[in-house]
């Protein structure tokens, strides 16, 4: 159980003001170091992906195939999390560089960036952890909180979660199409078809790149096409599993709070901050770990400041922890092994009906 203190309206306003002040101070400090950093991340992505793909051209030879797949997977993880997710949040819009424009960036997964910008930037970050409004709670597949109404479908959710983890990039892609609403008859074909077309076009391009172009290139230069194709497949799988794990640790740990839809009515800025704090959970680790998670290990700071460059979250976390402590709020953090165990526990426990 969480041990947060309930705040009076005055305290809530002061709480919001302190967090706002931290935001303004950080915004004023943005500059060359941040620009250099994101360019270095982009450089690292290019290096890992190129090196990985080149190594895979050496065929099944275990040292090169394993290293190649690992590097390609690493490149895809960095591109997805530290580069793509953060750029699309507009964290680097202030640079005015078209390469890092949040509205135009297209990331290297089957999900169209346009879909993500709506489901994630807009919906998830606005309605964070509000039952019935935040589609990320369970993604329509899983029951993770007793407040979610139980259905027999959830009995098999260990299987659904496993499938979702293996195919996570497809789960992300299809979320915006709202197929469950279509099958229930609540939205029509004319709404779903253009979305399907856009999604299928992106899937086609991604498949053509990873499963057609590079294997064919291997054939052309006399390399082993199957080794390349399999390497690409495993790299994509690596990225799916890692992103699934990190993202699920963000809002589904034991101490993550959910909220009823009523909180959204006339929600003050202070309460918005409070909801973001209580609904998010952090992961502890070293600097490399933070970069690999795209700094989503600082999920709390990310939810308080989604549009500030993620490299800033580590230093901001020091102050956020102090502010949380002073206002009697629990700061949900822990090692990944512990946090993810509580997530798995939720998937296991809430597959059966429960009194709230």
């Amino acid at each position: 159980m969480r041990t947060d203190r309930e705040l009076t309206p005055a305290e809530l306003e002061a709480f919001g003001a302190e967090l706002d002040a931290l935001r303004e101070r950080t915004l004023a400090d943005l500059g060359e170091a941040d620009a250099r950093y994101i360019r270095r991340v982009r450089g690292a992505v290019r290096l890992c992906c190129t090196a990985g793909r080149v190594l895979l051209m050496f065929g099944w030879f275990p040292p090169t195939w394993l290293l190649g797949t690992l590097l390609l997977g690493l490149g895809k993880i960095l591109e997805n999390m530290e580069l793509g997710h953060n750029v699309m949040h507009g964290q680097y819009d202030w640079m005015n560089d078209p390469e890092f424009n949040g509205q135009r960036y297209e990331w290297d997964i089957v999900g169209p960036s346009d879909f993500w910008r709506v489901t994630h930037n807009h919906l998830h970050h606005t309605y964070t952890n509000v039952i019935g409004k935040d589609d990320d709670i369970g993604y329509g597949l899983l029951r993770l909180f007793p407040e979610q109404r139980w259905k027999p479908f959830y009995r098999r959710q260990v299987l659904w979660a496993t499938l979702q983890a293996l195919l996570f990039q497809y789960a992300v892609a299809v979320q915006h199409v709202k197929l469950d609403k279509y099958f229930k008859g609540r939205i029509g074909k004319d709404e779903v078809q253009p979305l399907l077309r856009q999604m299928n076009a992106k899937i086609l391009r991604q498949w053509a790149k990873d499963y057609l172009f590079f294997p064919l290139l291997a054939l052309l230069i006399g390399a082993n096409a199957l080794a390349v194709l399999t390497g690409n497949l495993v790299a994509n799988l690596m990225r799916n599993l890692w992103t699934f794990a990190v993202i699920f640790c963000g809002h589904f740990t034991e101490k993550a709070a959910v909220f009823p839809p009523e909180v959204l009515e006339n929600e003050s800025r202070g309460h918005w901050y409070l909801r973001q704090l209580r609904g998010s959970s952090n992961l502890e680790g070293g600097p490399l770990f933070h970069i690999l998670t795209g700094n989503l290990s600082h999920q709390i700071e990310h939810h308080l400041y989604p549009d500030l460059p993620a490299r800033r979250y580590a230093e901001m976390a020091r102050e956020v922890r102090q502010i949380a402590a002073r206002y009697g709020q629990e700061y949900n953090t822990g090692r990944m092994s512990r946090q993810i165990a509580t997530v798995f526990r939720r998937i296991w426990v809430y597959r059966k009906p429960q009194a709230v």
């Binding site: 170091a33 819009d93 005015n96 078209p98 297209e106 807009h122 970050h125 606005t126 391009r205 549009d307």
Partner: protein, 364 residues
Amino acid sequence: MPFPSSSSADWLGPLRRLVADGWLRESSVDAWLGALRGHWRLNRTFARVRSLRWVAADMLAVRLKANRNWRGARPGQAVLVYGERNGVRLARCYSLTAVRGRNLELAIKRQPGGRFAEQLIDTLCPGDVLELGAPGGDLRWPQEAQGGVLLLAAGSGVTALYGLLNEALENGWRQPVWLLHAVRRREQRAFVPELQALMARYPNLQVRWLISGEPAGEGELRGRLQAEHLRELPAHSLLACGPHGFVQTALALWNAEPRAGTAQWEAFSPPPAGGEEGGATVRLDFARSGLRATGDSQRSLLEQAEAHGLKPKHGCRQGVCTECTCQLLEGRVRDLRSGREISEPGQPLRICVSAPLGDVRIDL
């Protein structure tokens, strides 16, 4: 040489299609092209610096060769030059003094205390690569003028007029033309040897300098622009270029008497801001929608755009999700949450939490 260098860049066509359809990332293609030749890019216009020369104590003329994405321009037009300052890609407008195909010359004047020109002037070297924007500007030589042309310039305004003048004389303009360049200090007189050579070659040209801040030299005038300067020069058409205040004065003096010809002008600084307090009416220009309307400085730009029938893309309407981000083209806006002011042209702003401070033009 694997790629043809003298024909047009048609070999980039397939790459452009692949990028437009989402198969390749433009930034990746540009990285490869830029590695091959510094100023090669797929769609963006970049130029290589060929030479630099000082044309005044505080003005540097830069000769550039643009890549094949350059669409052409006329002397007298201005072009945006991009540069990164503290992580931010800024842009400033500089007038073209000469254009010959893809070979351009522009002149940059020092701005003490400014963020852009100082660093550019101090660090620019031949071989450097600069990004350029699309050229713009409407100044044209009044070919139809029956009589002389008067060019009034102050400070960096001389760059646009020098460009027009040079081209006109080369193309056979033989009627009288007078150029009056107003500067504060004598060392700021620009293109002196070039203008003296033009005067020697074309007897219909007369150039005078007007020095306001120190004693004038031989043949130069002292003081600020006044009616008597115009009275002595019976011109048919006027071209005036310089800071806003100078241009206003020039136009006022010109219009004080009935004139037969046209008056063209370009102000290099914006008019002084004023009257943004208390919900004063402001002019809103939504450039991409082609809509000009009036509004106030209290409500957010999103609300005001919607009030005028536009349907801008938006999300949370709280300034968090960045869905409503657009570019500020001209003017100043205020962030409704923090009070912070944004006035740098080309910068992104979130219209759901930005209110105009004075007249604004946004890319919506």
